[in-house]
Symmetry: C2
Subunit: 293 residues, 2 copies
């Protein structure tokens, strides 16, 4: 059984990015790629995520900036911040951290972002171009999964990929990316969700099973084909008095039992989650090189 | 066995549209919805298609116009035509008939169309909004399939839909539309294509089988589950000396044998094909009512 180790892989890709930043940007007299993040309110998970982004930017030599606003910041003002960043030539790409406070329309904000700076890949233009197999910014988590499969040389062509969960940011886009006519894709994809009556019938047939249901421990060993590849996108906090943080992270897959039956699996933590930030760095690099037109 | 009769259904929907045009537009003193088509070159199938559009527009009381240009028309000039139609307040929606001559980039032309007038639903913004389950212009053929399933009250929720073919204009969008969290959707969808090793395994499990492979007679009775619903998107011309036209139309499905085993099936001709133009009319109506923002 191969552990699909997001920690090692993300460190490796970060060092590749750092080398490229040094050689093609700093040594060439060009400013480092610049990723900005906009954070509204005090959501602790969002705070952590943005802090991790800043840390990762530092590691690879990117410039990073964070625009922080209180939870009662108005939609109108946030749209102005987006316009400002759209027009700031020093910013290559930026993200507006979700979720936003309820009085702000996330969709309105996302659609205001210049698609050429939309390194989260959430703007409809990028989503559409992804479906059409045109160059675009790919959403971070599915892009991270694609990178992981590619780097671990897991064959996808002709395989049956079963995706559990049809969210706009993970399940649906990964099912599109893997079924496209492209290198490291060309899979037959079945997209299952909460209204699939017999999920086990699908999971038992999966050569590659991607689990993004948001249900802790949803996938047990009896649901998995022997030798399958398991990608666990779930992330859940469980109280654990014996840890320093007071909690432990768990995935959508029962790792201990499923890992004995499959050929490869991502751990939680240390799997897909770490690839998400790497995707964001790769998208920012792409934006700074003006590769998407 | 129910024949999913595109002829009767499209006539019925057209008469509904005609009533609405009379009541909400003409009788209300407003100009009729206006669909324009741009045709470059002499491709016979395109000529026929555009002629059918004009005829359908007349039937429902739409204004229609066709802009015809020779095969050597330049890309630059075609972009200017698109800009003109984008800005013409009298035109509610328009399509640029594909395929275009090889010296013109179809993607460039499509991306130049104002998404609010893109009644073919091919612009990346509309494709992306479709995936994100936001209001958009849906591409005509998959929209026609959705309309047909809905009008014939074919339950999709919880069903296993197998789609054969992953084109940008049929297979991939219909797989997205049917798997979305929405009324008349909520299906579990498997998207198969030329690189699926064992297509029969999937088709035999399909409650609803949508065939858009572009391979005449690809689906035989032994590939179909008893009682399945069959949607045949294929359309092929076969020489036939005993017909007036000199040819006969055939689908991707062997109708004679499959119709004995399934619970419902679209004929070719007279099935999905006729729904495509109806979709275009519905999109134009939507555009004229400024329903998409």
């Amino acid at each position: 059984m191969i552990l699909l180790d997001g920690k090692t892989l993300s460190a490796q890709i970060k060092s590749e990015i750092a080398r490229e930043v040094k050689k093609d940007f700093l040594d060439a007299g060009k400013p480092a790629p610049h990723l900005a993040a906009v954070l509204v309110g005090e959501d602790p998970a969002s705070q952590t995520y943005v802090t991790n982004k800043e840390k990762s930017c530092k590691e690879v030599g990117f410039t990073s900036s964070v625009y922080r606003y209180p939870a009662n910041f108005s939609e109108k003002n946030l749209l102005e911040v987006v316009d400002f960043l759209n027009n700031d030539p020093d910013v290559d790409g930026f993200i507006v951290q979700l979720p936003l406070p309820k009085h702000i329309s996330e969709q309105k904000i996302i659609e205001r972002i210049n698609p050429l700076k939309d390194v989260d890949g959430f703007h409809p233009v990028n989503v559409g171009r992804m479906m059409l197999n045109l160059p675009s910014f790919l959403p971070a988590t599915p892009f991270g999964i694609m990178t992981m499969l590619e780097r671990y040389k897991i064959e996808t062509e002709g395989k049956h990929v079963v995706v559990l969960g049809r969210s706009n940011i993970v399940g649906t886009p990964i099912s599109l990316m893997l079924s496209r006519k492209a290198k490291n894709a060309n899979a037959t994809v079945s997209l299952c969700h909460s209204l699939t009556p017999d999920i086990k019938k699908f999971t038992l047939d999966a050569d590659i099973l991607i689990v993004a249901m948001g249900k802790m421990g949803f996938v047990s060993a009896d649901m998995v084909k022997k030798g399958a590849v398991i990608i666990d996108v779930g992330i859940h906090r469980v109280t654990a008095k014996d840890t320093k943080s007071g909690y432990r992270l768990k995935g959508d897959v029962l790792f201990d039992e499923v890992s004995k039956k499959c050929s490869a699996i991502t751990p939680v933590p240390g799997g897909v989650g770490l690839m998400t930030i790497v995707s964001l760095l790769l998208n920012t690099l792409k934006a700074s090189k003006k590769e998407i037109k």
